[in-house]
């Protein structure tokens, strides 16, 4: 058989397709955290008073501060995208760096918050936790699961956004090819949305 090279075809960049794929992935994240929200609603209905008490003992100040931090980080990543569309590379990189900075600050706050609770013995299988009534045990179980899983997603977001920052710097993302950045932004906004729900469910349950 004569060997004929495979027919070349233009490598298509399907921006809408990539965006659709990203949204579908975000649906899986919504359902993943959704399972936790489901458990939360079930247990809150079962232990309303214990959830109230649990919420009182959380550090509401850090919770609200982290909310403001994440909301602002969503602003900066959104601005970064408009900036790249307008060809303003400098502003893009500035805002992306700010987003990453806010994300890191969020994690620092989380570390401070958790350290305090762990010091007080309120952690899974911790001495103080085991003495609490069942409903509060469940509350803290959900608190650590939900904020823990969310924190992992913030960390992943930092990695993704840093890679995007590098791509903008090296011109792999440009004003005519910025789908990757858009999609990274979509991911980051979802991380923010999840926290928007976590705030009242956990910190304002009191």
């Amino acid at each position: 058989m004569s060997s004929i090279p495979a027919m070349p075809h233009p490598v298509h960049k399907d921006r809408e397709g990539a965006k659709l794929g990203m949204w579908l992935f975000l649906f899986t994240e919504i359902l993943l955290f959704g399972g936790l929200f489901l458990l939360y609603s079930a247990y809150r209905a079962k232990y309303p008073l214990d959830f109230h008490t649990g919420g009182q003992h959380l550090n509401t100040f850090i919770g609200v501060a982290n909310t403001v931090i994440l909301l602002t980080s969503s602003l900066t990543v959104a601005i970064a995208i408009t900036a790249i569309q307008k060809g303003n590379r400098k502003l893009t990189m500035l805002c992306l760096s700010a987003t990453i900075g806010f994300a890191a600050l969020f994690l620092v706050n989380k570390y401070v918050e958790w350290s305090e609770e762990i010091r007080r013995g309120i952690y899974p299988n911790g001495p103080a936790l085991l003495k609490l009534p069942d409903g509060e045990k469940i509350f803290y179980g959900l608190y650590y699961s939900m904020t823990g899983l969310h924190g992992l997603h913030v960390l992943a977001g930092i990695v993704v956004l840093s890679v995007m920052l590098k791509f903008v710097h090296s011109n792999r993302i440009t004003s005519s090819d910025f789908t990757k950045l858009e999609n990274a932004g979509l991911y980051w906004h979802l991380v923010d949305v999840i926290w928007i729900f976590l705030l009242p469910l956990l910190y304002l349950a009191a």
Binding site: G17, L20, G21, F25, T28, G135, K137, G141, Y144
Partner: protein, 543 residues
């Protein structure tokens, strides 16, 4: 549409098996070509199937050896757990979707590949990783998990065996499923050939599309469930542990919210394949195209509302029991619509009983039995008697094996010549069918009877009154296993010694039969322009 004559006139591009720059194993495990990925899935999935089949045979041997039994109770627990985990997560779930969806979907819609080829390869990597983790759980630590593939709490929290590895393996496999779902949805939305409207897509594509939505929306729920199970075992988080105020029924809810839709992930692609095979060998168009397309979506939607029927005896409220029972009866309707349409397609068709058709019709028959037994156990009062008996085991093997399994085999026989460019021995395939069919019904029909008589499932031994039934079932199992080995041996030999297959050995009319067997790397020389629906048979079996 490009005619076969046009394809033959131009010097052919090399087949995808010969094209590409790499050699040997790297040509396979680094390839982002959807056709190679489909075959990679086939090879790994059949391997896992055979391993799980061995465990099944061991279980049947155990039930023959009553006094004393050959294996201990804890060994038997590990058998049915690992048999279930492998069969479900590594064979039936990826199923026809991962193999034939990957291979055929792009070709059938006139595309060169899926939307995200590299993500596709990553799906397979996740699959292999999960499979290796599951196999590791067999040989390390305190031995394979023994809590059943359902991992119910609190036993799965307390058991000293490799529950963690097993749960983590299933978690990783979930990613494989999710990524395939994302890929297929995007591909169907974005990459159909010009002129291929939604209602001109082959029905296999509709089935894959409906399946993909379930993969995307339901799989994350099992993801979080297993994640929490792992967190409880590792950190003692305690959201399910009754000792810490948890509700074990909530675990069951979360588990089945995925695992019931999962069975529709399993059956829909198989139904889709059968919907392709029957028109081809009846030489007439499918009856009721829209009904089948919409019923695929209907099954996906309704099937997400019935999960509680696995939990009728667990302590749910009466209201919930009633609701789930009602939905369970409703979900039979779209499935029945398909059965009516397949049957109506045969009417006044010119039927050729080739091997793929034989297995496709077997699918319809066995799936009907499975579906009807499902309705029986969906009735609340009857369920109290049947739950956790061999009836349930018989039921799900009828639908998952008689259904999805036979559908998978039918699809394999149908698309084998296209995938490998070789023809297998058709007579041998039909001969293998005989022990498969007879053995299957002895084994699982026997289980229906045993269960009705009261034999509980997941018991390593049984009371004397059940022994005859078990002997019949076990003999049936051995007969069936022999048939399965013949079946696979025939295909395996054909890979090396099979006659060269033509582009269209069956007279099919969908796009994959318009390209060579095996197809070239890029599937089409020119992307076809579609001008009519997919099932136009000329001239005798006209629509």
């Amino acid at each position: 549409m490009t005619s076969a004559a046009h394809v033959a006139a131009v010097p052919a591009a090399p087949s995808f098996l010969e094209a590409g720059g790499r050699r040997g194993i790297l040509a396979w495990i680094l390839s982002t070509d959807h056709k190679r990925i489909g075959i990679l899935y086939l090879a790994t999935m059949v391997t896992m199937f055979l391993m799980a089949m061995v465990l099944g045979v061991l279980m049947r041997i155990e039930q023959l050896t009553v006094d004393p039994p050959l294996f201990s109770a804890s060994t038997y627990n590990a058998f049915f757990t690992v048999h279930g985990v492998i069969m479900i997560f590594m064979f039936v779930l990826p199923g026809a979707s991962a193999v034939f969806g990957n291979f055929c979907l792009p070709i059938m819609i006139g595309a060169r590949d899926v939307a995200f080829p590299r993500l596709n390869l990553m799906s397979w990597y996740f699959f292999v990783t999960g499979a290796l983790l599951a196999l590791t759980s067999l040989f390390t630590g305190n031995g394979p998990p023994d809590a059943g593939w359902t991992f119910y709490v609190p036993f799965s929290l307390r058991s000293g065996t490799n529950i963690l590895l097993g749960a983590f393996a299933a978690f990783v496999l979930g990613f494989s499923s999710i990524l395939t779902g994302i890929n297929f949805i995007t591909t169907v939305h974005r990459m159909r050939a010009p002129g291929m409207s939604w209602l001109r897509m082959p029905l296999f594509i509709w089935a894959l599309y409906a399946t993909a939505w379930v993969q995307v929306l339901a799989t994350p729920i099992i993801g979080i469930t297993f994640l929490l199970l792992i967190a409880e075992r590792t950190f003692g988080i305690g959201v399910f542990d009754p000792a810490k105020g948890g509700d074990p029924i909530l675990f069951q809810h979360l588990f089945w919210i995925y695992s019931h839709p999962a069975v529709y992930i399993m059956i829909l692609p198989a139904m889709g394949a059968v919907t392709e095979i029957i028109p081809t060998f009846a030489h007439r168009s499918i009856f009721g195209y829209k009904a089948i397309a919409y019923s695929s979506m209907g099954i996906a939607i309704l099937g997400s509302l019935v999960w509680g029927h696995h939990m009728f005896t667990s302590g749910m409220s009466d209201s919930a029991n009633l609701m789930f029972s009602l939905f369970t009866f409703l979900v039979a309707v779209p499935s029945a619509i398909k059965v009516f349409n397949w049957t109506a397609t045969l009417y006044k068709g010119s039927i050729e009983l080739k091997a793929p058709m034989l297995f496709a019709l077997t699918f319809v028959f066995l799936f009907c039995i499975g579906g009807l037994t499902g309705l029986i156990q969906g009735a609340l009062n009857v369920n109290v008697h049947l739950h956790d008996t061999y009836w349930i085991v018989g039921h799900f093997h009828y639908v998952m094996f008689g259904g999805t399994g036979m559908g998978f085999f039918a699809a394999l026989l149908y698309w084998f010549p296209k995938m490998f460019g070789k023809m297998y021995n058709e007579t041998a395939a039909k001969i293998a069918w005989i022990p498969i069919f007879i053995g299957f019904n002895m084994l699982y029909g026997g289980m229906l009877v045993l269960g009705y008589m009261g034999m509980p499932r997941r018991y390593y031994t049984h009371l004397p009154q059940f022994h005859t039934g078990h002997v019949i079932a076990s003999i049936g199992g051995f007969i069936m296993a022999t048939g399965l080995i013949l079946f696979f041996a025939n295909l395996f030999v054909a890979l090396f010694k099979g006659k060269k297959a033509e582009a269209n050995p069956w007279g099919g009319v969908t796009l994959e039969w318009q390209v060579p067997s095996p197809p070239p790397l890029e599937n089409f020389e020119e992307i076809p322009v579609i001008t009519h629906g997919p099932y136009r048979f000329n001239p005798e079996g006209a629509k």
